[in-house]
Subunit: 341 residues, 2 copies
């Protein structure tokens, strides 16, 4: 079955993906800081049982004891935004539920008992939310969520209290970055109760001009309002980025073409490609595709490259830890192979 | 008719070309510093007449009043090592004789009355000398050379006195350059009465790791000895460069591959390519071809690129002076077109 990122999504020229994540806890179990290993296992079983009869069509769910996945496999899933780094780091008595197309991932025994996450391609929060809700409803049928009439869903960390919902979009903003408008954008966004972060969320750095924009407020707001708020801001950012791209083109279209095509040359010809080099190049190429400078190359292909070339993902495919130069060599080979397909 | 650089030559992996140049003066005319414009014109006519019946097969000679060639055309010929910069700068009452394949160029009324030059592809001084001699003999039949029994051929500048012969080879020495062995080589060569210079001879800088090695001594030595001396030193340099290339490969073959292929990517994908950028890239690519890293690319093609992409050559093709960015744009287009042929 093809992965979610091997499809096309709305506004793909600027938005890579939309993600909804729900934090949920079960009344019968202590919160994560107090839960015993035995109770964790019971929780894993309960969740698995609750999901047994869910109907997701061909997109079957698969259940993994997290410590039965190798360390490389776990960090490969982190690189693909499927699970959190914290979840991967301590796999004992944790369970991962992953759909075949990798759009749905449910972390059991993360910071909260349940972290239900759905990723969709492009700007499509509604689709992600709908699917997240479907799973949430199924779980709610057999499990009793920790819920307070006044506060809403109870969570380990007070920042998630209320809706327990985090909505985010991954946006590719090279032109806003290059023109320096991104810092202005950051302060505007913060005032709207949203936050702009690096490629791997809180505290991470920005690679390949990919930014994560997410809601911050979970208390005193409905889930729908939080999502609509983010969606409308994302649409404004799309407009700003498009304007900034046109300005870049008007300033010096040949320079832009040169940067874009040289980056394509790097992807096609380099034999040693570090992760940073790769993201810089793929960012320029994506910009080129979205501006019609590079024809005959799809976002799908670029998504595949991004999802296949993370450090852990490459080592996972090789079945062992590789030294840096070896990784860079394999990364470049994977990219050439994909681009020649 | 194809140009000399569109052929294959011996030792092409390291030697781009061999060149023989003879300086000659005619007794009936004052030396260049004293010759009148009228006498220059008479000299031009005499030389043209003397060359009328030369038999060079299909490689016909063409005669040009130098000031009837545009400035761009003249400097394009400088870039292609056909004429000297000084000759191009002051075209009045000067004549250029150029063979169809551009291997033979005779500058009339340069610093000496005659500068007879033959270029051949690769390391082939004997072939260049033979052709130079044939032309020299034909001219000697009708013109009386300024010749002294003791000193040999008399020349404007005493550094050319004696044989009047300058032999040179253009060598591509990226590995000796990179390993720093080139400075050691320079001092050894000087002790042998030879000199190593930049790509455009005396006082010029080295571009694309291309060095000109030439004889310095013209007095008290036969033409054959001068040529054999240079040839044997060139062979030793070839050996050193080959050894240095193998060392590069043994140190880190992937890094070498990476540099070589990225440079090929630059040539194929850049949209703005400065002369320096181009020479750096083409130098790495030539190294890659000679080491078997890049298959399916010929030295002939690389020679064509080098001869088509000089600043004046590009402007000459466009029929006008172009601003730098425009030149860089056209240069990259010419390269892509040639590489796609």
């Amino acid at each position: 079955m093809i992965k979610w990122y091997q499809t096309q999504g709305p506004d793909n020229g600027i938005v890579l993906s939309s993600r909804i994540r729900l934090a949920r806890n079960i009344v019968d179990f202590p919160f994560h800081s107090k839960i015993s290993f035995e109770q964790r296992e019971q929780l894993n079983q309960k969740v698995a049982a609750a999901l047994e009869n869910i109907n997701l069509g061909e997109n079957k769910l698969r259940f993994y004891k997290l410590d039965e996945l190798s360390q490389l496999k776990r960090y490969s899933l982190v690189e693909q935004h499927e699970i959190s780094r914290e979840f991967a780091a301590k796999p004992e008595h944790r369970m991962l539920v992953l759909s075949e197309d990798h759009s749905i991932s449910i972390m059991v025994n993360e910071e909260d008992h349940l972290r239900i996450q759905v990723i969709t391609n492009g700007l499509d929060l509604a689709k992600a939310y709908q699917l997240c809700n479907q799973i949430d409803d199924v779980l709610d049928e057999t499990l009793t969520y920790a819920f307070d009439e006044k506060l809403g869903y109870l969570t380990s960390c007070p920042t998630n209290l209320g809706t327990g919902l985090r909505a985010s979009v991954m946006m590719h903003l090279p032109a806003l970055e290059q023109t320096g408008l991104i810092s202005q954008l950051t302060s505007t966004i913060n005032k709207l109760g949203l936050t702009i972060r690096g490629t791997y969320g809180e505290g991470s750095s920005v690679i390949g001009s990919i930014y994560q924009i997410s809601n911050q407020i979970t208390l005193g707001i409905t889930e729908q309002d939080a999502i609509q708020n983010l969606e409308s801001v994302a649409r404004q950012i799309i407009e700003s980025e498009e304007k900034a791209r046109e300005n870049l083109r008007n300033q010096d279209s040949r320079q832009l073409e040169d940067i874009v095509f040289r980056s394509l040359g790097t992807l096609k010809y380099a034999r040693l490609l570090s992760g940073n080099d790769f993201f810089k190049a793929v960012s320029n190429v994506r910009l080129g595709v979205s501006m019609g400078i590079i024809p005959d190359l799809s976002y799908t292909k670029l998504n595949e490259l991004m999802n296949l070339t993370g450090t852990a993902t490459i080592c996972d495919r090789a079945g062992k830890q590789l030294p840096p130069e070896e990784r860079d060599y394999v990364r470049s080979a994977v990219i050439r192979e994909k681009l020649e397909e």
